[in-house]
């Protein structure tokens, strides 16, 4: 009769969706929100760590990254500044810009959360996050292509480099979610 007007709980089912169907809609929204923010912050942390840590390429005696070229020779451990290239500086700039844009996107998300009208999209937040992911991608691509110029070919790519590549799809997905998401409450 008036069952269609009821917005409360449905009868419990035996699969995973029963966990979420017990929650009220506002709780679901909160969970979704939390999930999105966690994803965003995870991408941001990955970007940050990848930019700073000295492990973009590693060899048996040396490791290098965007800022330093460190090696252990018979004279001891010494580091050279990675300033002898136009491309490495471009990679540095792109990584820093991606971090900045991701921060701006997080800030805009919280702004838009409280000021957006009902039914509106987090368009601006999504745009900034997608831009951040594009910057990471272009930085990683440039590094991949140009790295034989400043590190010997025998060295393998390190974990900070892999982190940058993982941060790219995370940031992209996070940005797309923002663009699709509509504010409901």
């Amino acid at each position: 009769m008036s069952q269609s007007h009821r917005t409360g709980e449905r009868p419990s089912e035996t699969d995973c969706s029963s966990l979420f169907s017990h929650l009220a809609p506002s709780d679901k929204m909160l969970l979704l929100l939390l999930g999105i923010v966690v994803l965003h912050i995870a991408a941001l942390v990955l970007l940050f760590v990848s930019t700073i840590v000295n492990a973009w390429t590693t060899g048996s005696t040396s490791s290098s990254d965007l800022w330093n070229n460190c090696s252990t020779t018979n004279r001891g451990y010494r580091c050279d500044l990675a300033n002898t290239g136009v491309w490495i500086q471009a990679v540095q700039a792109l990584m820093i810009l991606s971090i900045i844009f991701s921060f701006i996107s997080l800030f805009l998300f919280f702004c838009q959360l409280f000021t957006l009208q009902k039914g509106g999209r987090f368009f601006l937040t999504g745009v900034f996050q997608i831009l951040a992911s594009l910057f990471v991608m272009s930085g990683a691509v440039i590094y991949t292509v140009m790295s034989p110029e400043w590190v010997p070919d025998s060295e393998a790519f390190g974990w900070a480099y892999i982190m940058a590549w993982v941060a790219f799809p995370l940031a992209l997905i996070s940005g797309l979610i923002y663009v699709i998401l509509r504010k409901r409450e």
Binding site: T84, A93, L97
Partner: protein, 231 residues
């Protein structure tokens, strides 16, 4: 109280000249140069004493990878003595001004073998205690771009573009809203009945802009209608 202050000041005045007897020598940290070019290596010093007539400057050079250094320049008794036997013979020139505490030398026609460390030592009698200062010379085929210049440039340009876009957006919004507001005000000023149709068309345009302007126009419209009702 006063005696303690006087005693303290006398002690301080006694201590400070002792520490300031040391001469402080300034050279650069690192110098980059192209092959075949000339470079000026500057050396100056700070001393609490007046510049004496017996001031001396000497430069020594240690090549990259070598163990000991050789002297290549000495200024004493008012005359400079440049290298005439060593690696810099006929290439070194004194361009300093000892009266102004400047002991700089000019190296001409640089080569890759000139990579190394140059040490300047200056003495200003009786101020002779001090530490010599070294400058490292690096000779390149082409001078590399300084670390961080391009990085800073790219970041600056992108952020600048962002700020520009935001400013232009807000400016456009402000201008459009103001123009529409001015238009609607001029239309409301004329009490013609035929203007009602065009007024109806004004309101949807305003709803895109500021909501406050929308309220103002709506209240104007209500006043106009109430006036017409009274007639």
């Amino acid at each position: 109280m006063l005696t303690i202050l006087a005693l303290a000041s006398v002690i301080l005045l006694g201590i400070v000249p002792q520490q300031s007897e040391a001469i402080v020598i300034y050279t650069g940290w690192e110098r980059h140069a192209l092959v075949g070019s000339d470079i000026r290596l500057s050396c100056s010093f700070f001393s609490w004493r007046w510049t004496s007539d017996d001031v001396t400057f000497s430069w020594s050079y240690r090549a990259d990878g070598a163990r000991d250094s050789i002297f290549v320049f000495h200024y004493t008794g008012g005359s400079p003595y440049v290298d005439n036997k060593g690696p810099f013979r006929d290439r070194l020139e004194f361009v300093g001004n000892p009266g102004r505490r400047d002991g700089s030398i000019l190296l001409k026609n640089l080569d890759y073998g000139d990579n190394g460390t140059f040490t300047c030592d200056a003495k200003n009698p009786p101020d002779i205690v001090g530490r010599a200062s070294s400058v490292r010379l690096l000779v390149f085929e082409k001078v590399p771009i300084q670390a961080g210049v391009i990085t800073g440039a790219i970041i600056g340009v992108v952020l600048g573009l962002l700020v520009l876009v935001v400013v232009i957006y807000y400016l456009m919004r402000f201008l459009v809203a103001r123009r529409v507001f001015n238009l609607s005000v001029s239309k409301h000023g004329k009490k013609g009945k035929g203007k009602e149709g065009s007024q109806q068309r004004q309101v949807p345009v305003l709803s895109i802009g500021d909501p406050s302007k929308l309220k103002a126009a709506a209240s104007e419209k209500k006043k106009q209608e109430s006036r017409k009702d009274k007639k």
